[in-house]
């Protein structure tokens, strides 16, 4: 039992264990499934990076972002700029460079996140929502600006050199490995973060800014830090998108991307990394599932519009049935099993006061 108590005490050990298990499971899945499932696995993993960052921002620090696609844009273009000069497909340097490119993408997005966070720290509720929304629309427009289009590829975008697969490894599997490795690292780091003093500071600021500042926390600094962390994770996701798609252009980072990420983190269950995982799976599979349900080769007005409608209905219904997301449902089930009695309905991810954000009666 000594081991168990050590695990309970040490966040680091616990997170290592979780990361190793996650890595093994992902590796196993990737070995078992074929090409297409591996490319979907890659999407799930890169979506997880973005959603995990977003869910920490909203659920833990209480700041809303409707525009996280902007940070994916920054990460994606950073990777594209770093890898565009290497000849496709067999450049020996590309393979070493891509890890560096991802790291730079994380750093650049974190910097942009810091700027956004500085503005965000002054704003509350719908005003913050409005600015982040404008960010998601404004930033991806930059490449089309005539003075930047030469450098950033204009409407056409930039071609990215995809890193070569290892010998004897199927290409889709190789891409899934890269994305899954990044997802596991993100999981490990964020898990440690939210269980550290920093994570507790996030929550203190979320729950009561006044109390937090009385306790000696710099509210603004904590809020900016949350934006930095979240943007870094999103930037990593954007970099991975560039690596897997082999190309970035302004239209690849539309507003709907940001809104999908938001929907995924809310439906998964805000503030929890397991919720981010559910959200990532959902957002990857739901659209193609909707397309399958409505039948391929939609030839009628109804058929063509059915996937959109199903996707929309799924969002509405899941919010009506699962107000606390999938994670909320699962934890209430486990609690019920453990206690043998129906527990109180609690607002699991107390997005409170400031996070009241889009919906705050008090502030009038």
């Amino acid at each position: 039992m000594a081991d168990v108590s050590a695990l309970r005490r040490s966040t680091l050990l616990r997170s290592l264990l979780i990361a190793v298990v996650a890595a093994l499971v992902l590796f196993g899945i990737s070995e078992l499934v074929g090409e297409y499932r591996n490319s979907q696995l890659a999407s799930v993993a890169l979506n997880f990076c973005a959603i995990a960052g977003l869910t920490v921002l909203i659920g833990r620090s209480g700041q809303v972002s409707l525009g996280h696609g902007a940070f994916l844009f920054v990460g994606g273009y950073t990777v594209a700029l770093m890898l565009k000069h290497h000849t496709f497909p067999n450049s020996p340097t590309t393979n070493k460079l891509f890890i560096l490119a991802l790291l730079v993408a994380v750093a650049v997005s974190a910097a942009v996140g810091a700027l956004a966070g500085l503005a965000a720290a002054r704003l509350r509720g719908p005003y913050l929502a409005g600015v982040t929304l404008a960010l998601a629309l404004g930033l991806p427009e930059l490449p089309t600006y005539s003075h930047l289009s030469g450098w950033l590829g204009g409407h056409t975008g930039l071609v990215v050199n995809i890193p070569n697969s290892l010998d004897n490894v199927d290409f889709a599997r190789w891409q899934a490995w890269i994305c899954c490795a990044c997802a596991v690292i993100t999981l490990f780091l964020l898990y440690n973060l939210i269980h550290s003093r920093v994570g507790r500071a996030f929550e203190a600021v979320r729950d009561d800014e006044v109390a937090a500042s009385l306790a000696g926390l710099s509210v603004a600094r904590v809020q900016v830090l949350a934006f930095v962390v979240s943007a870094a994770a999103a930037g990593l996701a954007g970099g991975l998108y560039a690596l897997t798609a082999g190309q970035v252009d302004p239209l690849s980072f539309p507003l709907t991307l940001s809104l999908d990420l938001l929907a995924a983190s809310v439906i998964g269950g805000l503030g929890t990394l397991s919720g981010a995982a559910y959200g990532a799976v959902l957002i990857t599979f739901l659209p193609s599932w909707a397309q399958d349900v409505s039948g391929l080769s939609a030839t009628s007005k109804v058929g063509a519009n059915l996937p959109t409608t199903i996707f929309g209905l799924a969002l509405v219904v899941s919010m009506l049935l699962l107000p606390n997301g999938i994670q909320g449902l699962l934890s209430s089930i486990t609690r019920r099993l453990r206690n043998g009695a129906a527990p109180m309905h609690r607002t699991a991810f107390g997005i409170s006061s400031r996070a009241g954000n889009l919906h705050d009666r008090e502030d009038t």
Partner: protein
């Protein structure tokens, strides 16, 4: 005039497709059958991914919903109707063609997911007629890396013609620079000395069109070039700049929604230049007239506004009932997709499908992905176009020229002969071979 600086509202941020074109006068000459290398010996085998003894499965990504859907959502159903017609008549080399097209809503991230699904799960033989420049560009690296034939992209970007880096990718419609050159040569000849103003989409479509135009006309004759942002419909100040520039000839490289908007705004400003020249991408008379009719309760008549527009094209006008291709396509349309309007989009889809059928036939009795690409590079198709294709092992562009014409009623009547050129600074030469006649049974080489 609503400003909608948004991807979501990207009215015109759509593939600048070249649609219907000039009515060729009913063409003479008999269909010149292209010989194929299909041998009649042996049985059909499952010779490649997506190919069985009895079927060939191909896939595509199309904007069936979203901002680019209007008009362009007819193309894939039209292509599919042509394949159904082929299938009902015995297929190609005994195989029926199964065409799976998925909606990407003109969003490149969805295009990527769709194409992965088609290639990796549905195991399609080839990608056919993927629609849109930004959408399709997002999958070109993947398709070439996976060595999946990527035939007849539905966009006039010059970027599909890059055989050394993208050996699997082929364009189909004439590229925007070739169009610009041929329009420019016509203007130089017929409006010498007049000042020219340009209204162009601010992306590769507009820029490459202008590049071709300025290759032919002197830049000192260009009074102004106004680039519109396809995500922004507040073009009135741009059109006013054109009106104030003193230009007598206006050239427009615009998608239909913006051609209509230009025409209407010019009418609002009471600006009437001597001539309006519109790229075939944005000049389908049926589409334009539909977009213009309802404004201002009949005070503006859509059909009147578009009379006399000079344009170019590479297919027969859908309104030409004497053309053998139009007769064929109309017959298929009436049988399989009677609810869709018979317009340039429908013709475009069927014509591209016909070219694919030709390529598949030429790829041999038991086609492989390599043999399909080689068959296209071997060229020699006698498809529905007024001009030939440029396909070779070093050239993956599609139709290499266009035919000038003028809008009369809801049809385009041709002026002179078709012309061909390159996408560089090469000369423009008349192409005098008559358009081939459609095969009697509507299927290539039978």
């Amino acid at each position: 005039m609503i400003k909608a600086p948004l991807r979501l509202a990207a009215l015109g941020a759509v593939a600048a497709l070249g649609l219907a074109a000039c009515g060729s006068s009913s063409s003479g000459g008999s269909g010149s059958g292209t010989p194929t290398n299909s041998s009649s010996s042996g049985a059909n085998t499952a010779s490649a991914p997506g190919v069985t003894a009895t079927t060939v499965t191909i896939g595509s990504h199309q904007p069936l919903t979203g901002v680019a859907a209007p008009g362009y959502d007819e193309i894939a159903p039209a292509a599919n109707a042509y394949f159904q017609y082929i299938n009902a008549n015995g297929g190609i080399n005994g195989r029926t063609i199964k065409y799976t097209y998925l909606d990407d809503a003109y969003d490149p991230t969805k295009t990527v997911a769709d194409v992965h699904k088609l290639v990796e799960q549905d195991k399609v033989f080839a990608i056919f007629n993927g629609l849109g420049t930004p959408t399709h560009e997002a999958v070109v690296p993947f398709l070439n890396q996976q060595k999946v034939p990527d035939l007849f992209v539905a966009s006039g970007c010059l970027c599909w013609n890059n055989p050394s880096a993208d050996p699997e990718t082929f364009g189909w419609q004439p590229d925007y620079t070739r169009e610009g050159k041929i329009l420019g040569a016509y203007i130089k000849q017929h409006y010498a000395g007049d000042k020219i103003a340009v209204f162009a989409q601010g992306d590769d479509f507009g820029h490459n069109g202008v590049k071709g135009l300025e290759d032919e006309i002197s830049t000192s004759d260009v009074a102004t070039v106004q680039y519109y942002n396809p995500t922004n419909t507040t073009v009135t100040p741009l059109v006013q700049n054109i009106a104030q520039s003193g230009a007598q000839v206006v050239v427009s490289f615009s998608v239909p929604a913006f051609t209509a908007l230009y025409e209407l705004t010019a009418a609002q400003l009471k600006f009437q230049p001597k001539a309006l020249v519109v790229s075939n991408v944005g000049s389908d008379p049926i589409t334009l007239s539909g977009l213009l009719t309802q404004f201002s309760k009949g005070a503006v008549k859509g059909k009147d506004l578009i009379q006399g527009i000079i344009t170019d094209g590479y297919l027969a006008s859908p309104s030409d009932p004497t053309n053998s291709w139009i007769q064929l396509f109309k017959k298929i349309h009436d049988k399989y997709i009677p609810k869709l309007p018979f317009d340039g989009n429908v013709e475009y889809g069927m014509a591209a499908a016909y070219t694919f059928a030709e390529a598949l036939k030429a790829a041999g009795q038991n086609p492989t992905r390599d043999s399909l690409v080689q068959a296209v590079e071997a060229g020699g198709f006698s498809g529905p176009g007024l001009v030939p294709f440029g396909y070779s092992s070093t050239d993956h562009s599609g139709y290499i020229g266009t035919q000038i014409g003028v809008i009369k009623g809801l049809a385009i009547s041709p002026i002179g002969t078709p012309e061909t050129t390159d996408d560089g600074t090469g000369p423009i030469t008349p192409y005098t071979t008559p358009q081939p006649t459609a095969p009697a049974n509507g299927i290539p080489n039978d």
